[in-house]
Amino acid sequence: MRVPLKWKLYTAVGRYLPFLKIKPPEVDRKAAMTLRPGRNSLLTWEAQESGKTLLKVPVNLQSGRVKKRLAQWMKVPNERTVELDEVGAYVWELCDGKHTVEQIVQLTAGAYKMNRREAEVSVTMFLQMLHERNFIGFYKRTAKKARKG
């Protein structure tokens, strides 16, 4: 996915040096609802009978020899698990790069009989949280392109 230069600048410099006033690009709300969240391919997950889902997140031990040795010595596991509750697991399943945020909101509101606004707030916050942890990314492509791909 092509990352805008403004965003690259913000993540590399702007957020550490606020006096430079490099702000992240503003995303229009309507445009944000058309993004398609897709899962990080490095993650694996396991659905449980209780409805919850366990995400297995690989821990990056490759950066630096000292860190690698220390991790071996301390017996740090090479993956960590994150537990998603039932609603979280439902949304996670829908993060397949095909459904838009708007569709996920509508499906979640329908499945759990939530008010549209309540569902929108919950789902967008949850997706934002997953994105901050690099569990998902957002595709910005039209339905036509998605079908071709």
Binding site: K30, D85, K113, M114, N115, E120, V121, S122
Partner: protein, 356 residues
């Protein structure tokens, strides 16, 4: 000071005309003001004050239409001095009528309101073009005087200002949108003004938002609220008497771990052990687990403290109940701290609580 809450300040993009073919479904009620709007319109901002406040209701995300309602108590003095507070109480104590007011100048109020809009338009370098119709008397009893108005500048708006003699409120309601939404604005405005009310006829204020609807006696004032995704909490107070209404979403998930009664025991604001428990059936067919009984001395003291040491209407009894509504997948609970003589309040509130 007005305590205000913005639920979500989201940008709204280009709008399309909202679907008006379907029946008007969203009922909104706040501080005595109530209206009916198309489906999926939701409260986006409100004030906590009853005397003067505002309410903002936004269209679904694909539209930029918004309904703004503002009200002020026409009888309230501009500057509240101890004299005004004391005089009002003495009049009430001696059962003397309120002094007659000079007739409210609606036109002046409207001009003041339009001036504010003109300021906003000036910021976005647009010239305000406002039109108003002549003042007219509405309703059979003639107790409402109103002026319709419309404006265009930074956006477009169509509204109405009125003064109601019954509740002595001056209310301004308008539908605002972008320039190209003129037809949608007109359609929503006409339906809004048909349904908009500023006071209740039966003595129960309708509190309705996010699919929750409950009628609370109009003497009770909103004390606190929590409007979270999946959890709504409204607490009302009249002297030391209290009514608390809670609603939890995702009931199917909650009820995998707890029974309804267990869930209520964890969240009730009194100890339920000493209270009488019984199962009843509501008018809508749901089974309600009801707890009632005398309040302990400690609970009464807590109630007085919560009422800022007001000894008016010290509650002696507690009524509480919880039920699961499978149709809406929600758990509802109502708790009432009441005086012994206010026997019917439980039934009255419960009969006005709409869960689906």
């Amino acid at each position: 000071m007005n305590q205000s809450t913005e639920l979500q300040a989201g940008d709204v993009g280009e709008e399309e005309m909202p679907s008006l073919d379907t029946a008007l479904q969203t009922v909104v009620g706040w501080q005595g003001v109530r209206c009916v709007l198309p489906p999926d319109w939701n409260v986006a901002g409100f004030s906590m004050e009853r005397e003067s406040g505002y309410l903002r209701i936004d269209a679904p995300s694909d539209s930029s239409l918004t309904v703004q309602i503002r009200w002020t108590d026409a009888g309230a003095p501009d500057v509240k001095t101890p004299y005004h507070v004391l005089a009002k109480r003495v009049r009430k104590l001696l059962r003397r009528p309120e002094p007659k007011q000079a007739q409210i100048d609606l036109k002046a109020n409207l001009d003041k309101f339009l001036k504010e809009i003109a300021k906003q338009s000036k910021k976005s370098k647009e010239k305000l073009d406002a039109h108003s119709k002549p003042e007219r008397v509405e309703r059979e009893d003639g107790k409402r005087r109103s002026i319709n108005f419309s404006w265009s500048g930074a956006g477009k708006g169509q509204g109405k200002i009125w003064h109601c003699q019954v509740c002595n409120r001056v209310l301004v309601a308008q539908v605002v949108g972008m320039g190209k939404d003129q037809n949608a604005i007109a359609a929503i405005a006409s339906r809004l003004f048909q349904s908009l009310e500023d006071h209740t006829e039966d003595g129960f204020d309708l509190w309705a938002l996010y699919d929750l609807q409950v009628g609370i006696p109009d003497g009770f004032r909103l004390e606190s609220q929590k409007l979270l995704s999946g959890y709504l909490h409204l607490a009302f107070q009249r002297g030391a008497e209290r009514i608390v209404v809670d609603r939890w979403g995702l009931a199917n998930i909650t009820l995998k771990k707890f029974t309804v009664a267990e869930w209520f025991a964890n969240h009730a604001q009194v100890n339920l052990r000493s209270l009488q428990k019984r199962e009843e059936t509501l008018a809508n067919g749901h089974n309600i687990t009801r707890f009632s009984g005398k309040l302990s001395v400690l609970s009464r003291l807590v109630a007085i403290r919560q009422a800022r040491f007001s000894l008016r209407g010290v509650p002696t009894r507690f009524e509480g109940g919880v039920w699961h509504c499978p149709e809406s997948n929600k758990i509802y609970s109502v708790q009432i701290w009441r005086q012994t003589r206010a026997e019917k309040i439980w039934e009255e509130v419960l009969s006005r609580c709409v869960c689906h």
